[in-house]
């Protein structure tokens, strides 16, 4: 193979690779339209946690709340709900929401000391 042909091959390979990366990541990336709750962005997941907490406040059904938290991909409900409560606290959430989250966290384990003021 001549040097010129090799340069052409390399140049067009690089061009093709660049085009492939552009198409695959930018122009036509894989589309995820059927996602699961566990893949939700943090803010949406936190909102979902608030929903679970509000439902739990209403029906006091720990089993159902656990199933909902599992759908959100929470492996350690008590810790992760407590963490969500801290994020809500930092974001200036309403006290009622914090209390609901605290109640939900407490349903799955001891409430951390920093969240005790919101204990039900």
């Amino acid at each position: 193979m001549s040097r010129g042909a090799l340069i052409t091959l390399t140049a067009f390979f690089a061009l093709g690779l660049g085009l492939g990366l552009y198409v695959g990541w930018v122009a036509l990336p894989l589309q995820y339209t059927d996602t699961a709750p566990a893949s939700l962005r943090q803010s949406a997941k936190d909102d979902a946690l608030l929903m679970v907490a509000a439902i739990y406040t209403h029906d006091q059904d720990r089993l159902a709340a656990g199933a909902r938290l599992a759908e959100l991909g929470l492996l350690d409900p008590a810790a992760e709900v407590a963490e969500a409560a801290r994020r809500a606290l930092a974001a200036g959430a309403a006290e009622a929401d914090l209390r609901r989250l605290a109640a939900l966290a407490q349903a799955f384990g001891p409430l951390p000391a920093d969240l005790q003021p919101f204990a039900p």
């Binding site: 052409t8 198409v23 995820y32 059927d34 979902a48």
Partner: protein, 269 residues
């Protein structure tokens, strides 16, 4: 030769690029929106929203949550979901929560739906047959009743039967059994379960699933000349017998009578 090398290089590069981006390292959607949720999870999200609304009473938040699913008309979307769930025999608590949310969204400022009072059948054209309840149910072949089959949920309160009226209206065909549930102030109450029985069959429906007709409104398509027993799930003893008899409307056309039953919660002292 040079052209061949160019083509080969381009194809190899493109192929490798796509292999890397689509297979080896595809775009990871880890921060998705509720809008991209799978259809069944969207239903779940809607039910959670309705349940949370019962818990926190925050209608604006519920509205935002439903619109996050890409629903441009939340009230209608929630009502439709309630009906689908009811028809599929879903959990009565979920149906009631959805019905209550649909009714509330229908009344809120954000949705486009403008709820109105339930259509009151005009009692002007009297039915030709007896307007009084028929105590003895008649045997009937196969009733062609339409609405939602459901298990029984917990009723939201005690209601008293206030009265019934009849309409011989060609606009209400097939004849409807219409139910309006009101609180002590006359406001419609959504999520009230109504049980309809006839010889050889039973069906249930909820008020509030048609928020555009009023929060406390629910209806059921009747068969002509079939005797029905109607009661609220909250009051097993309060049975009311109704039937749709033939009648002649204002235009002289022979049609069937629709019946409107009104229930109201007693005023609290």
């Amino acid at each position: 030769m040079k052209r061949l090398m160019a083509l080969l290089g381009l194809a190899a590069g493109l192929g490798l690029g796509l292999l890397y981006t689509w297979v080896l390292s595809p775009v990871q959607y880890v921060d998705t929106d509720p809008l991209t949720l799978r259809a069944d999870y969207k239903v779940e999200w809607m039910i959670w929203t309705a349940g949370a609304y019962l818990g926190d009473g925050d209608l604006e938040r519920a509205h935002t949550r439903i619109t996050a699913l890409g629903e441009s008309d939340p009230a209608r979307a929630v009502a439709a979901q309630a009906q689908r769930l009811a028809a599929a025999g879903g959990e009565p608590e979920s149906v009631q929560a959805l019905a209550a949310l649909a009714a509330a969204l229908g009344a809120g400022p954000a949705p486009r739906l403008t709820p109105s009072e339930p259509p009151t059948p005009e009692p002007t054209a009297a039915p030709t047959a007896t307007p009084e309840p028929t105590p003895t149910p008649e045997p009937s072949p196969t009733p062609l009743l339409l609405p939602t089959p459901l298990p029984s949920p917990t009723p939201p309160g005690v209601f008293s039967f206030v009265g019934q009226s009849f309409a011989c209206d060609s606009g209400l065909q097939p004849p409807l059994l219409q139910v309006v549930a009101q609180d002590a102030q006359g406001e419609g109450v959504a999520g009230v379960e109504v049980i309809v029985e006839w010889s050889g069959g039973q069906d249930r429906f909820f008020t509030g699933l048609k928020p555009e007709l009023g929060h406390g409104y629910g209806d059921f398509a009747m068969d002509i000349n079939v005797a029905y027993t109607v009661r609220l799930a909250s009051d097993p003893s309060g049975e009311i017998s109704v039937r749709s008899d033939p009648c002649t409307d204002a235009a002289g056309q022979l049609i069937a009578t629709s019946v409107l039953l009104t229930f109201q919660q007693p005023a609290r002292p």
